[in-house]
Subunit: 334 residues, 2 copies
Amino acid sequence: MNNKIKDFYRNKKIIITGGLGFIGSNLAIALVDLGAIVTLIDSMIPEYGGNLYNIKGIENKVNLNYSDVRDEHSMNFLVRGSDLMFNLAGQVSHIDSMKDPYTDLEINTRSQLSILEACRKHNPDIKIVFASTRQIYGKPEYLPVDEKHPLRPTDVNGINKMAGEWYHVLYNNIYHIKTVCLRMTNTYGPRLLMKHNKQGFIGWFVRQIIEGKEIRIFGDGKQLRDLNYIDDVAEALLVAGYDDFLNGKIFNLGNSPPISLEEIVKILIKKNGSGSYCLVPFPEENKKIDIGDYYASYTAFKNVTGWEPKITYEEGLQRMLFYYKENWKYYWEE
Amino acid sequence: MNNKIKDFYRNKKIIITGGLGFIGSNLAIALVDLGAIVTLIDSMIPEYGGNLYNIKGIENKVNLNYSDVRDEHSMNFLVRGSDLMFNLAGQVSHIDSMKDPYTDLEINTRSQLSILEACRKHNPDIKIVFASTRQIYGKPEYLPVDEKHPLRPTDVNGINKMAGEWYHVLYNNIYHIKTVCLRMTNTYGPRLLMKHNKQGFIGWFVRQIIEGKEIRIFGDGKQLRDLNYIDDVAEALLVAGYDDFLNGKIFNLGNSPPISLEEIVKILIKKNGSGSYCLVPFPEENKKIDIGDYYASYTAFKNVTGWEPKITYEEGLQRMLFYYKENWKYYWEE
């Protein structure tokens, strides 16, 4: 990240929704380091990723505001006076979105609308970077998946996130609220929620390894994914926040080459020095929503910003494993 | 429409959401004629299209149920025991969706979810035909627009309808609730709402002609559209309801060749025997959401069902004009 971007954030007033979650807290640490004035908004819903331990070390250098993005009144007030918002709050569990589609709709769709309405009315000059997701592509028709790939979400979560993303594009185009959407792939690293397995497979693999349990991979383990280490994602967010040329646009994040689930597990076992895994057939419920291989083209974002992932899978997984070996007790109960 | 399809509807229990509206009432008339047992659900929201006069002649041959698709309890009850639902209720005004995005979200998105949840829990064997819209394509990248065209809605209404449509696809794929989505283009004909100009241009043109006012066309009048006469659309809905091969799929309706706004007005003036029009610049607010030319490819639907529009623009516009010359006082106040 060049110095122009680093300087840009000094003394900037930033709000981060989902600020105590995985991506929000890592981003906050980076922003505090750059001298930004950071306010974290988090609802602390127990099953979600908000965790006070995530901001250990910067807890006295950020403003903490506990509130829910569904709370229009507090959002109307909170958006005032900020230069940028990193809009990361979301319900991310596929399973929860199917069991309780209304809550997912409230958080991932309706709240996005009310955040944008709050900005339109009370801070139209704000810039928003929105965390979208690869989920909205559904099962890839071709690989790597670029931004032209049709959107065919395979769960309620994907549909609701798709609508939430498009509100951001719309408010940029119609009301000139500056917005950028980044469609994230699997992000991994320290501060990821680990208390249940509803937020992706990597955290769960790491936890199983640390707990000395056998890792179960659904299917043949050959499914390909691209992973982004959290520091690379935080940098992408910072770049997107800085660059007004990106406004109104949607970009994939991603990584190359992709890696299979089995390879990920093998790296974790190697870095850990021990561990085991087995392949188990897809449960019926998961088979319906299995998307096969997925990896994204991030060429569009790279071409306009120069961003690309720097941390290798080996390095990233080692760092993540090390973090949770040290800090696991702040993330799950024995 | 072949006899197999006609026979299929005899004694079938059908519910139509938005049943007193433009498309719903015309469909109800066709269904009553085929011997179906029809229940019309309508909220009678004053600004929307529900109008008791629309079912004049069949009022004693249908069940009328006044309720709002946002009312989960009544929907939970109403879906029971029906063979098919034509799910046509919606907020269709672009302007209203921008002024009050939450109501649009409630009706076009949340209610669709709750209708599908009602069916999943209380009538999983029902078949649903959902009225989607060309709005969700946004400004065409190429013409004619086929179903592979990217979805880039340019207003809140389009985003919310997009999500509502995808819930239908999802519930077909995951829960095996049989659903078909038809993305409709401009539908016109008798029983269209005429009390304001927020539901498309054709109704408004017809009203101006009848009232002896000068028609105002935004832009140069050369914008191309494809129009479907209501009887053709009702037939498409009946075909979609019959054919289980279509389940889980999305199809465009459309017409060929397209016609310009100016040509439409000229036909109306000719059929009326008098009238005038002028070209006026796009108001600033409309310019932002102007999509230029639009016309759809309906080849996919034609290839699997044989459906194609039968009523010419000349014939359809004449019928529409004639209907409102006779019945205008049931549609607007002097």
